[in-house]
Subunit: 363 residues, 2 copies
């Protein structure tokens, strides 16, 4: 079977080492003679998995003991509720920026729990840029942003100076580049892009922020409860956490600095071809172009279907844009090798020649 090049936006490509470890553990986990699916989450062998996963998160992000790490369920979507339930104090305001579908959903949910101040939005230009230059009010409970917008392909390469606790949805670019994680008070991320399979949600909270949490929060939506119980208040997603742990081992073995170099090289290669090739146009302003999700369109929309068909023939998978925006999207998450991007670029060049007779001239 030929290799499939997986550009899926999430669930997405994972390192081979994590998949191999999962296959082995499904058959016999940790020499227990049982499948990973059949063991108690309170066995010492699985407790070791959770402990290592949390420790790896702190090591990779260079976080000290001022931070707590937990694995929850429900994805970033449930965090859209949990953040304001825990931290939007009645009578006060939370500050958000609106940079796409997921950021909009975070705003919508927060409004159920209190006042929300949307400081800036890029909706005016179909979320094709990251707003800048807004001021964060000093009396906000927190400021919430989305570091990478999976659907529109924009990424925040700098974060504003923040006079209030900084909360960030990093679902689609966590562990893809070096960041100063100590600037953040709460980071959350659904695992299914850069960190593992669907079914695990990572939450990192600074203890000083946690102390400000509201008291009356339903138990399963209360960060303190999950932290006090070490991700084991109720039965956690055992399998998903196991895969995350192995993916985190792989990320650590590369390191965020080298990971960023890898990811930048892949993105640069693809954006250069989009800018060169006469058939394609990128949809995002150059300075905010995501290295994780590359959004582009065919200038002649009627060529979209034939191009996707060609991609399919060449085992290039997952390139259709999100159903809400259309066009094309190539997701270049950590585990995708640059070889796959090279095959995509060659396919774009072949398609150009076939349709225009042009051969790799500049625009």
């Amino acid at each position: 079977m030929n290799k499939v090049h997986n550009f899926s936006a999430g669930p997405a490509i994972l390192p081979k080492s994590a998949i191999d470890a999962s296959v082995a553990a499904l058959q016999n986990f940790s020499d227990m003679g049982l499948s990973l699916l059949e063991i108690s989450h309170r066995s010492k062998q699985f407790e070791a998995v959770v402990a290592e996963a949390c420790q790896l998160v702190k090591e990779i992000l260079n976080l000290n003991d001022e931070y707590e790490v937990v694995f929850l369920q429900g994805g970033a979507s449930l965090q859209f509720d949990m953040v304001p339930m825990n931290f939007l104090t009645p009578g006060k305001t939370a500050a958000y920026i609106n940079t796409g579908v997921w950021a909009s959903r975070a705003v919508k949910e927060a409004k159920l729990f209190g006042e929300v101040n949307v400081l800036a939005s890029s909706e005016d230009k179909n979320f094709s840029y990251i707003p800048k230059g807004y001021a964060i009010p000093e009396d906000a409970c927190y400021f919430h942003c989305t570091s990478n917008n999976t659907i529109y392909g924009t990424e925040m390469f700098s974060f504003p100076e923040c006079p209030v606790p900084l909360v960030c949805d990093m679902s689609s670019d966590i562990f893809s580049r070096k960041i100063d994680a100590s600037k953040f008070d709460l980071i959350y991320a659904g695992a299914q892009k850069n960190m593992g399979p669907a079914g695990a949600t990572l939450v990192i909270i600074k203890k000083s922020f946690l102390e400000k949490a509201n008291a009356k929060v339903p138990t399963m939506l209360n960060y303190k409860i999950h932290i006090e119980n070490g991700s084991m208040y109720n039965t956690p997603g055992v399998f998903a956490i196991f895969v995350c742990m192995h993916t985190l081992r792989w990320i650590k073995s590369i390191g965020l600095e080298a990971m960023e170099v890898r990811n930048k090289a892949k993105a640069d290669l693809l954006y250069a071809e989009i800018d060169r090739n006469n058939l394609f146009t990128g949809t995002v302003v150059p300075e905010d172009r995501s290295r994780m999700n590359v959004n582009f369109v065919l200038n002649d929309k009627t060529l979209e279907a034939p191009f996707l068909k060609l991609c399919e023939e060449r085992n290039l998978s997952g390139l259709k844009g999100h159903r809400s925006v259309g066009g094309l999207r190539a997701s270049l998450y950590n585990a995708l090798e640059i070889d796959s991007v090279q095959v995509l670029v060659e396919t774009m060049q072949y398609f150009e020649t076939a349709n225009t007779g042009n051969t790799q001239n500049s625009k």
Copy 2:
């Protein structure tokens, strides 16, 4: 390697066919050339998995189109919040019975959202029986019960006549016996006992009940949203649902009638030995003894550790009672074969002979 007999209370033993299918799908799902962990949840291949899983639930329980089926995350514990958030109407009362740790948690959470009337409790005798003979008020929003109490080993073999919507946590005995599912308005179950791995939660709701749901519920906690989106409002736990689907195929191939016969035979074998053997005592009144979780103690508490050590030597796993109650617990979920119970019984007999000289006399 010798076979391990898995009496774990959950996550628990699964049918071999489901584990084998998972191993294969981790390597190449549905001939896509990708791991099950790496594919879009919106691929037609995975949509078919969700559709089949939901259909199997309805077929196995003989439910008609008046019912909706969804797979969520967060376990039964999150249902303790979602049920009252959606159905405890302000100014009205919900009726509960308290039959153990999980039922108590359900009560505690419901009280956050409105008035709760605890109709009956077996806490007076350490939850060793199922309360009966209580009257359900006709003006309650719903009546909530727990069909099987995993920690204490009691099971409801009949359900009360219910003048209001009947809501049941069936986490630990769903699909283990024939029930008239059409009597229930909402059934929920964490998958990790009889239905699949940790990380999936099954919810079955009658449409007429759903129509009564409160309007203002956070999106991720709103049943209507999840149903309208076919378990795909956000990224679902892809892997866990896949394993559930294969476990449901296996359950259907046996059928609930035959499954009940299997489960009754296993439980009868073990309870008979507990009642015969001079070293052991069952902790639950005979008429309410669970067929899923068999709770028993050694009359001489000092023999508990040596007995558990002997069990370990004989590859009998997961027999320690829940940390909140101690003693012993053998969970006999669907996928456990009667051979494993036979080995446990023989071990109890061997232990009796070694410690008393008795050889299988009646008490």
